[in-house]
Symmetry: C2
Subunit: 460 residues, 2 copies
């Protein structure tokens, strides 16, 4: 099997590069056509790899690609989830090479080279590892169980139509475990498996002052400026200790035991890791918690975007009519996305001064999730990684969110295994996103072993 | 003379409309060619009106149009200042008709109709009144004194090159008074003359957190978010009473006497004026001062623009590398623009947390100005307006800034008369800027009377 992968390594890379050339940006309707096209390409790649059935299932939004290979009803079934849509590429000017013209370059962390392109890691690269691992098992007659694929195109915009699809296709999606590669490892020599994910509540706010843009000289001083007001409102959402001030926000937050926090502290991640790699003088976050805790077991509030008034070249003395911000909160176990969205909206409206009007629009959310480390899926992933990396993977809580994991458990009663191969330095959601050739191939080598060990675990 | 104006009214309007079709946006280099072209058009219009000498004087930026008509060295000379550049037109989508395709529409305040276009009032419309008033005096053999014109193209971006031009052309610009129409009147039946102008300090700030955009899930909580930080910094610039917190900011502010404030209170402007016309529930401003005082005799701080992170369609969970804001402060007599800019920069840098880097870039400034109401120029303007409006004009302090007025006094030793004919409702610097036909023609009728009365005052 290893030989097959080595012999076809170049083709595996070239095929991924072709897929990366299609700008499947789900957040921007200007790329709608290309996003639909990507679904077709993914379907074709699954058929070529050896799937019996493969179809592009239409939804109210972008379609979900389904495919399967059932070899024996008595054998376990692995359901692979991934997504073919990608984040917007802006700010474009900060990319060293065009985001949809993939190039391979060697970096300090990737001496073997890494593929630079939007989606290289998140999630086209990691999703396509499964397609090639599947092909490898078929070609080497080593597929040990049944496999199903569910690849969606709206993960970056909240998987709005996935829920309906899952609810309506429970029989079709019947399986024994869900396998997802949309997370990362600590380092190429420090493998890890994500056992926890933060949830998400994402909203857009609009603050309206006067009914039209005004001359700041003629009105400034007595007519509330929506940008000044929005700044004060945002500033008041966190206190001097970087605690979030929304009433009730922390009520359901899971507090970890001293033992668990001590365990976490063992991970080789220090403040210097951030300070040096990000060129900052200091980290900053919630008082009383370590950097690793702040990005994993603690909820946060970030403004993801803000705009209002004149943002062009030069100076314009305008007192704008409106100011906007996109604000998201990362949630931890037991916090419920809809409740937090509700708490935020109520609070934000309540702190608005009489001089402005406020509109809050929820975008999307996701429930936090924790994987038990004692079930067959986790054990299989651990054995598989231990074999290919030559060292046991560490279980870690990730700060990111994969909202649908909680949905799968709820609707299909299935646990998910988050066996990802990316690195924090891959710059997903940023300019110059890339994915190491090492990681891509290591994933293709590890996935078949997961199937093997899961099938064994399952028999016991 | 009145007949000549009536007979040529339609042509006067058509000529202005042609001038308004050229997008002379000095803040946006994309319109550079049209801005230069506008200077040529203005020069040609002055020659056509009867100027002896007219030239386009090149500067390091956009040129200054100079023209004159010297009839007798023993007679006084009026130096007319105006500007042919205009504000950017965005947000374009809020215009009811294209900003550079002028249309005439009747409004509640302008039953005779108003010209809708960027620059209709500020300042092409008001500047062109002087060209047509000059033509009228020439054609009716009633020019009572010498006249010089200085029309610049960088007023909306801080008149950066006007200072040098004035310093280098003191002889050429020799005059007895400066006449400017770049301000307004309280209402078409309540004429007023601006006796005070606020100064300006305008800066752009850049807050940098991490050296690249990050995934807010993986880093949010421990890496300072430049938008959150910028919001807190902006929020801290004013306290709960809307006092500006920059140390030393108020040190030189001129405090008006109770008598002067009582005088001001007589102007027919109430909070309801703002509340009703701007569709706001309440005004908001510095504690202890009336709305009129807040926009005239008190300094202010407004964020004119803010941007950072993802501002496109949909949701992007990014923790951005940078956040920006354009911030301006309106200054009152005795505050010095450069000093305030310095105080702001020092303070803003001092309040930045260690987790970010801050860059402050001054854009442009302007010194506050007050016109004495007992000199020949003011008296002449008062008599002229009293005659055409049939009621004495009220002296008012304006919140706007015309930075160059202080420059003229310093370099040329000349007082300026701010005899403008616009209305606050003309929406200058906003979508749907317009200028009333009534105001345009009233200006053309009033200006020759200013020349007449100023010449008489001068003889005494």
């Amino acid at each position: 099997m290893k030989n097959y992968i080595q012999e076809n390594k170049k083709r595996f890379i070239d095929e991924l590069i072709e897929l990366l050339k299609i700008p499947s940006i789900s957040a921007d309707s200007n790329y709608s056509e290309q996003t639909f096209k990507t679904a077709e390409e993914v379907k074709n790649s699954l058929i070529a790899a050896g799937a019996d059935n493969a179809e592009v299932c239409q939804t109210a939004g972008y379609p979900i690609v389904y495919a399967d290979k059932i070899i024996d009803a008595n054998l376990p079934t692995v359901l692979v989830y991934g997504h073919y849509d990608v984040q917007p590429a802006d700010p474009i000017n900060l990319w060293d090479s065009p985001p949809f013209e993939p190039v391979i370059k060697a970096t300090e962390l990737h001496p073997e080279g890494a593929i630079f392109a939007r989606g290289a890691c998140d999630d086209k690269g990691q999703m396509y590892m499964h397609v090639k691992a599947f092909e490898t098992m078929i070609q080497t007659n080593s597929l040990p169980c049944n496999v199903k694929f569910m690849i969606e195109g709206e993960e970056e915009v909240g998987s709005e139509n996935l829920g309906t699809f899952v609810k309506n296709n429970k029989e079709k999606l019947k399986a024994d475990v869900i396998l997802i590669s949309d997370t990362g490892i600590i380092a190429n020599d420090v493998p890890s498996i994500t056992t926890g994910l933060r949830g998400l509540s994402y909203l857009e706010v609009e603050v309206t002052g006067p009914n039209r843009d005004l001359h700041s000289g003629l009105y400034g001083g007595t007519v509330a400026n929506p940008i000044n007001v929005l700044s004060k409102m945002i500033a008041s959402l966190t206190d001097e200790n970087n605690h979030i001030t929304i009433p009730g926000f922390y009520d359901k937050v899971e507090e970890l035991s001293a033992t668990e926090r001590a365990e976490m502290a063992k991970a080789p991640i220090s403040d210097e890791t951030y300070i040096n790699s990000l060129d900052i003088a200091a980290v900053e976050g919630e008082k009383g918690y370590s950097s690793l805790e702040r990005v994993s077991i603690r909820p946060t509030l970030d403004v993801n975007g803000i705009w209002g008034g004149y943002t062009g070249e030069g100076a314009k003395t305008v007192l704008p009519s409106k100011a906007y911000a996109k604000i998201s909160m990362r949630l931890v176990p037991h916090q419920i996305s809809d409740e937090i969205t509700e708490l935020f909206s109520k609070h934000f409206e309540s702190i608005a001064p009489k001089s402005v009007k406020v509109k809050v629009t929820p975008h999307h959310g996701g429930t936090p999730y924790v994987t038990p480390i004692d079930f067959a899926g986790y054990k299989a992933a651990k054995s598989a990684m231990a074999e290919t990396f030559g060292i046991d993977p560490i279980p870690v809580r990730s700060g990111g969110s994969i909202p649908i994991v909680a949905l799968f458990e709820e609707e299909l009663g299935l646990k998910s295994v988050l066996m990802g191969f990316g690195l924090d330095s891959d710059a997903i959601h940023s300019p110059n996103e890339h994915y190491g050739i090492f990681n891509y191939i290591k994933g293709i080598e590890t996935i078949p072993l997961f199937y093997k060990y899961f099938t064994e675990e399952f028999k016991n």
